[in-house]
Amino acid sequence: MNAPREKQSLFYMLLGLGLLLTLLPLPDNLEAFRPPWVSLLLIYMSLQGSRPVSLGFVFLLGLLADILLSSLIGLHALQWVVLMFLMAKFSSRIRFSSPLRQMLTVFLLLLNERFILLWVLLLRGEHGLDFYLWVPAIIGALIWPIMFVFLSRLRQLSQRN
């Protein structure tokens, strides 16, 4: 019973780190290529975690991110709640699929997130439709395998201790 709890706390620490990484300044020309750290972590958590991440937690996390990033309050909450819901529905199906298919699924999940963003941007009256809007989904899918291996190692290490 002790082990899963430890694992959970590791995840929460990683989520905090992910939020900080989202805030960390990048050079101007790299900014568009920032991976969606928190989304990737959330996907991993619901794929490998011992119990599902609650929607309420994700909602609050999203609100925190919105305040930190001073985006429209509720935007990240909406994105991540939908993401978690989809993950909870399909995680059992993609858990054992091939890495390539998993990558594709991650891409589609992130793409869905970008569509939510696009929807909000269009409602606000911004021109949102440029290529850079979609870049984080591509980057996220590309680094997913690396992240998956890295996080699995990390989890093993923390369990051994």
């Binding site: 900080l20 805030l23 309050i73 935007l75 909406l78 939908v82 909870a88």
Partner: protein
């Protein structure tokens, strides 16, 4: 709801995760929050306290970059050189802004000598603020600076950089302030064409390099390259600061209004140091904000933006620690 129960009981929380009802509830809550935020329904106090809550984190993230920059400076120059350089840069910034205002006033004096008397003198009190080294949501059109209420900054103050008007203070927390840029689609700025004096309103488009003037009449004298300045209408932005240069004018015969696109002169996406402008003593009475709903894009050019649901700012302790 432990996983073992989930796996074989078709309860409310089905085996495939959460119930759709919960998803819907949370989505609705999120959309509601967004709509309220868009409408500006959160009052200043709530937003300021939220900002206060997270500002330590923001400063923490900003710290390593600041340190790296400091180390880099130390390596390249001696400390005294560095401080004098800093001072000079500050002075340059301030003087450039003053200069742009001066030339504007000269133009104005030539045209409207008689009316100029109505306006008070040139002295402006400013505060140099530095942007925190953090990346906000790339679609938020906000920046955070390292000066807050403790430095006399309050919501509604005008922010400039060396090029021109950058935006206004949206939320002031004790240590930091959030600035809404003129490129935010919620932001409207009363401007006038420097060449002719024609007044209009510049709206943000959500693109940091484009402003739009949707309500210029089709036969108005405006052309590519015209300089747009603040007009001083609406009391919030003082008159005469450069805002943008007209990029293109689109006149289609079917529409009563020409569509004018302009490029902001302030470097909205890359300025690192900004000037916060203290209002002149006379205009310190509660002013109306310049944020309007984008639904009101079609107001006529004579109408001023006035639909600001925020309560008027009453903190006027500003002018005390200016330079």
């Amino acid at each position: 709801m432990s996983p073992s129960i989930n796996r074989n009981s078709p309860s409310l929380f089905t085996r495939n995760g959460f119930s759709t009802a919960r998803l819907m509830a949370y989505c609705l809550a999120a959309v509601l929050l967004m709509a309220l935020d868009q409408r500006g329904a959160y009052n200043q106090k709530v937003r300021a306290s939220l900002a206060t809550l997270v500002s330590p984190v923001q400063m923490l993230v900003s710290l390593p970059v600041e340190m790296f920059e400091a180390i880099g400076k130390n390596l390249t120059a001696r400390e005294d050189l560095q401080t004098t350089n800093q001072n000079l840069e500050d002075r340059l910034l301030r003087q450039q802004v003053k200069l742009s205002r001066l030339s504007t006033l000269e133009d104005e004096a030539r045209r409207l000598r008689s009316l100029l008397g109505a306006r008070s003198g040139l002295r402006v009190n400013t505060l140099v603020a530095e942007l925190l080294h953090i990346d906000l949501d790339p679609y938020s059109h906000k920046v955070i600076v390292d000066r807050g209420q403790n430095d006399g900054v309050f919501a509604g103050m005008v922010v400039l950089d060396a090029g021109g008007v950058m935006g206004q203070v949206d939320i002031a927390s004790p240590e930091t302030a959030e600035i809404i840029l003129i490129s935010d689609p919620d932001h409207a700025l009363p401007v006038q064409v420097a060449r002719t004096g024609m007044r209009s309103i510049a709206f943000g488009t959500g693109d940091t390099s484009i402003l739009m003037l949707p309500n210029v009449s089709i036969n108005a004298d405006i052309k590519q390259g015209d300089l747009l300045q603040t007009s001083g209408m609406g009391q919030l932005f003082p008159a005469g600061y450069s805002v943008a240069r007209v990029m293109s004018v689109e006149r289609s015969p079917g529409h009563p209004f020409a569509r004018v696109w302009a490029r902001p002169l302030a470097r909205l996406d890359r300025a690192r140091e900004v000037l916060v402008l203290f209002p002149e003593k006379k205009t310190e009475k509660p002013t109306e904000g310049n944020t309007v709903d984008s639904a009101e894009d079609n107001t006529e050019s004579a109408a001023l933006p006035s639909a600001d649901p925020k309560p008027p700012e009453t903190d006027t302790s500003a002018g005390s620690d200016n330079r």
